[in-house]
Subunit: 406 residues, 2 copies
Amino acid sequence: MTTTQLNQLTHRLETINGLSKGEIGQNRLVYSPTWVSAQQQVIKWGLDLGLQVSVDDFGTTYMDIPGTVHPDQVIAVGSHIDTVAQGGRFDGLYGVLGGLQAIEDLLETAGRPKKTIRLISFSEEEGSRFPDTFTGSKHYTNQKVNLAMTDPDGISFENARKDAVGKLNLPGVTHAKPGLPSTFTELHIEQGPRLIDRQLQIGLVTAIVGQRRFTVTVKGIANHAGTTPMDERADALEMAVTLISELRSRAHELNKNLTFTVGEMHVSPNTSNVIPGFVTFSIDTRYSSENVLDKFEHIINQVVEQNQTTNITSTVNRWAKSDVTHLDDQLLSANQKIADRLGFSSTQLASGAGHDSQIMAKVTRTTMIFVPSINGISHAPEENTSKEDLLRGVELLTESLRQQAY
Amino acid sequence: MTTTQLNQLTHRLETINGLSKGEIGQNRLVYSPTWVSAQQQVIKWGLDLGLQVSVDDFGTTYMDIPGTVHPDQVIAVGSHIDTVAQGGRFDGLYGVLGGLQAIEDLLETAGRPKKTIRLISFSEEEGSRFPDTFTGSKHYTNQKVNLAMTDPDGISFENARKDAVGKLNLPGVTHAKPGLPSTFTELHIEQGPRLIDRQLQIGLVTAIVGQRRFTVTVKGIANHAGTTPMDERADALEMAVTLISELRSRAHELNKNLTFTVGEMHVSPNTSNVIPGFVTFSIDTRYSSENVLDKFEHIINQVVEQNQTTNITSTVNRWAKSDVTHLDDQLLSANQKIADRLGFSSTQLASGAGHDSQIMAKVTRTTMIFVPSINGISHAPEENTSKEDLLRGVELLTESLRQQAY
């Protein structure tokens, strides 16, 4: 990729990110005015390049360059256009605009492909405005989406969706949901520190971790902090601390790469001079093998069960579970060869965050390419990736699409 | 004490508690309408008995039966009339009405005393409406009270006080603050389970524990629960759990009767899929020896210091300290003999809660008598003491006053 091309990518990123000017970070929550402007801008760039653009009922945008030999075989690339509130400049958007850049480069250097290449800008992935997540890719792949949702302002998903999608009906745009592709490649920032810490340039994603979330509820007896002897307490916070300590060390014993996070905790009555009578805490645990997650779920239940006392009862409730998604081995291995040939230092790794790819992988051969995140930061205005790394990601993607579609 | 007398005590308790009818528990917050009615009722009973009643600037009520031989030597008895919000039926009130009952019994059976007996109904002890505590006994003993306080509704202490105290200016009441007494005896419910658990009838208080309160602040780095490897986290909640565990076991090692309570905890951002970056927790620790409290404060600072890491810093702030109050040995020993003579099973113990006695002990010889609290409950509508135990407390108090004043 030339300096001109890098400048074009940078310019496009800045154009979209400029729509959130004056705000803290990026705020392209699905179907918001900024989201509409961004998706409209992506469509315009596609139309300018001569791509065939269609928009579906959810506002996901598909931009095709039809294949000359096998137009029905579709090599898809893309990511999502939405962000979390006060999000970063690259999460999602880099995969969309990196894909656009790769297609433009291929058209310039190799002309039209034999197979169709499709750039997808998914409407929504983050779940930041409405409770459901991945609604764009779920709709495309005919998976169930909860339509009876409202945002915190009481606006219904359906009203927001219809209103916003109407605004994408630009001249030259077809309203349609195209068929499913033969492969899907998603370019994305890592959102963690593994590449940057090891000074690697490319991450090739083997799997997207499975994750399970639990709430542990501990019921003791609230009582006076001064008059209740230590050996007569039913201190719910003491029990919560014991459970968290034990579960953390059991997680580490089981597998040092199993993540274990207690992110949320509520203490009642939460007053310095009253022994807590009621505590809840969350557990978020993730790994790339269901077997390990099953074992750990068993351990959680066992540890909570074993720590029951006469006066303190604890219960566990699993309220979220998403299975491990194994990505395509052949595409991974092909991308590994390309990375090696281009001289990019790389590693193969599992993604600790969820991505549209885990939805796409249910219906088609799917792969992901990661570039490093500076300091491992994401979902924050400080999210950043060096221009050189942005460039390497697009170069690898370009070669992968060339190999697949030409 | 006869059945008639027990009925009178019960009737008086019910009369005052009846002023909070229809509410959850007792709500005699200082200077509230219920508080005014209660203090007025106590005054009326005192006037009916022929006691000389005065009210000071804070609304504390003093009711004297002057001594025939040494009227300047004052044997005082009493407690506070206010309650916490949604409080119980005995905390404070039992000491006031139990004192009134003892005086009535003495007048009937022994006539006027040689020394003056003074019943004190302190205006405020709980600190439930305004932030300062023990304002009644502090004012009586010329200790500093914060006058620049407002309640949660923005009403100033000074306005509330003047308004309420004006309403205690009943016919026959003098507005004055009398001199300090020679001794002070406070009858009170235990507010803990030690007497009830050991099936004892009377507790004689050796000391009121010293207490210290701290806030520990832990600063880590908030980060993604899925993409941040376990060995690269700066998890503030993990550190808080480590500190609480270690401090709890160090407290137990130091002295098994040292109380250690983490009652309050705040986690930020407090979301299940984000590693906590910031946690604060409180420590409330109490014991009857300053030496032990000093040692534990040293341990707290040491443990927090030793657990610093590159990415997680913790600090301790002590924001409250009240010293151990040793009550009078002679009065204790005299009350022990009376209890033994009356055939009441008893123990000597330190009070884990604060009382007006710790303020009075700074200026005069002070003692406390505890009766059992059913299930150790206090500061709640469920607070309760059997009639038999209420009776025993008043009988012991009556004999103590007889011995001191006749």
